[in-house]
Symmetry: C2
Subunit: 300 residues, 2 copies
């Protein structure tokens, strides 16, 4: 029986990329330099050394190093505790000529747990890399609290800066048994995905969903239902996945954002999820895949 | 009949503070300097001039000024269109001796619509104020795109910086017919509210809720259900309101964060919402008030 996507029970969502981080983030250790030093000296402490924000890879997944790999000048990021064993990370510049790892390859190289830990490391170290200076006064900053604070080194300023996470709304717009999907020029051939955009200061999640859909596709939306969330460490987003109810159906594409936007019916979406539809679905790493799948399951 | 807060229909939430912004944010105008200049010259364009981030007040609410109030060197922020009429904002330093307006006073001085527009202006202008320099290289930045971008003025760097919104999870932890509330030392006397904390890079909303409750109160949580969201412009948060299911009940208080945490039963919460309970509820401006009210309504 078809269920209402705005009131019916949403099927459990499993296997979302970057959500498998099992570490205890151990906030208490960040507060105390002595405890941090003890953690770094712990015999089971290990270090993830990123190269240009790419993960270090061994034959079977993440390549954890002994703490001795860290130099005296390195700012160590405390990731947390893995069953009591401290885990740290730091970033080194890319090797000359190194090309960033393709996102689709990443999915096959790391387990769910590893991808979750890597997401934390990459978001945090990317933030450090872009915040070596104080946005208030321009002076250099330095890391404190295990990497969860950067403080301005100017005695006149001393401003504190905290890690940044950017909320992004991503929404499957639904009109009965059709849903709205769009593609950017840079997407793989025939790929269509849920619309998405950054939430702005002063907005609710629901307002941001309705504004983005109006901007990108000219569709008015009514009800908005939160479905699931996902960290997306490129560079440091929080994807907030929703269903949105369409109140109009004539599409006006914002061609600066999207190359095409179309309504697809339930049969087309079901076939696409099975790999033989009129379009190619976002990979299971992405929340867009799971929004589409959850909607199809609700309607069948 | 008592409904399950994790599967039952959540009663509609109305009157959340700062959610009444009706402006069309008019993203298309930001992209085009000529359109922006036209908007500023529009005969019905108006300007909100904040003093030290406080709202400008007339006898009956926000005091909108003619555009001529802006000086040649002022960076204008485009708020959006009010039925086609452009609305801008800029911030001036506080007057000597000016004390920031008390948040509780604010609620009585602005309508829901005005508070929503002010939230957008305050979040954005606070961000500009703290980002006069490039966090990458330290050089000065300047505003572009109607205030929705700051670009580094160094030809060597030129980094782009975007407005910041910090997701905060705020959760009513539920154990049958009891809920968990805490108080900070600086709260008004007898006030108790829902636990809350910043989401960290690499976390889902659900993970952040469970981590915060464990850190602040030592309670393990299972199911998490999103209820509503709210912009909170002090300085620029997105409050993400949830119910969380308690899986344990012995409280361990993080005394660096909270002065007290207690379980309160349904009767106590209902009485408190009516103004004569054993504790004082957060004001209706705050999402904590509405989480508590929604839960009480679900259980009655």
């Amino acid at each position: 029986m078809a269920l209402d996507p705005f009131t019916g029970p949403v099927p459990p969502i499993a296997g979302l990329g970057f959500t498998g981080n099992p570490l205890d983030r151990a906030d208490r250790l960040r507060q105390d330099p002595a405890l941090l030093a003890q953690s770094a000296a712990h015999p089971e402490a290990r270090l993830m050394v990123l190269a240009g924000l790419d993960p270090p890879l061994a034959r079977d997944g993440l390549d954890w190093q002994p703490m001795a790999e860290a130099g005296a000048g390195d700012e160590l990021l405390l990731l947390g505790l893995d069953a009591g064993a401290p885990r740290f990370a730091l970033a080194r510049p890319s090797a000359p000529g190194q090309r960033p790892l393709d996102l689709r390859k990443l999915a096959g190289l790391l387990s769910e747990v590893e991808a979750g830990i890597y997401a934390q490391a990459r978001s945090m170290l990317g933030w450090h890399d872009r915040h070596r200076h104080c946005a208030v006064c321009g002076a250099p900053t330095r890391a404190e609290k295990g990497g969860y604070l950067r403080r301005c080194t100017s005695g006149m300023c001393g401003a504190e800066h905290f890690p940044r996470t950017d909320p992004v709304t991503i929404m499957l717009v639904i009109d009965g048994d059709r849903c709205l999907l769009g593609r950017k020029k840079e997407f793989p051939r025939r790929s269509y995905s849920a619309l998405a955009g950054f939430l702005e200061p002063g907005e609710t999640i629901e307002d941001a969903v309705r504004r983005e859909v109006m901007e990108e596709a000219g569709i008015r939306c009514g009800q908005v239902r939160y479905v699931a969330s996902q960290p997306w460490p490129f560079p440091s987003s929080l994807m907030i996945g929703c269903f949105a109810e369409a109140l109009s159906d004539a599409i006006t594409i914002d061609s600066s954002e999207l190359e095409d936007v179309q309504w697809f019916d339930l049969d087309a979406c079901e076939a696409a999820l099975a790999g033989h539809g009129p379009f190619v679905v976002a990979p299971p790493l992405a929340i867009a895949h799971h929004l589409l799948k959850a909607w199809v399951e609700l309607r069948r």
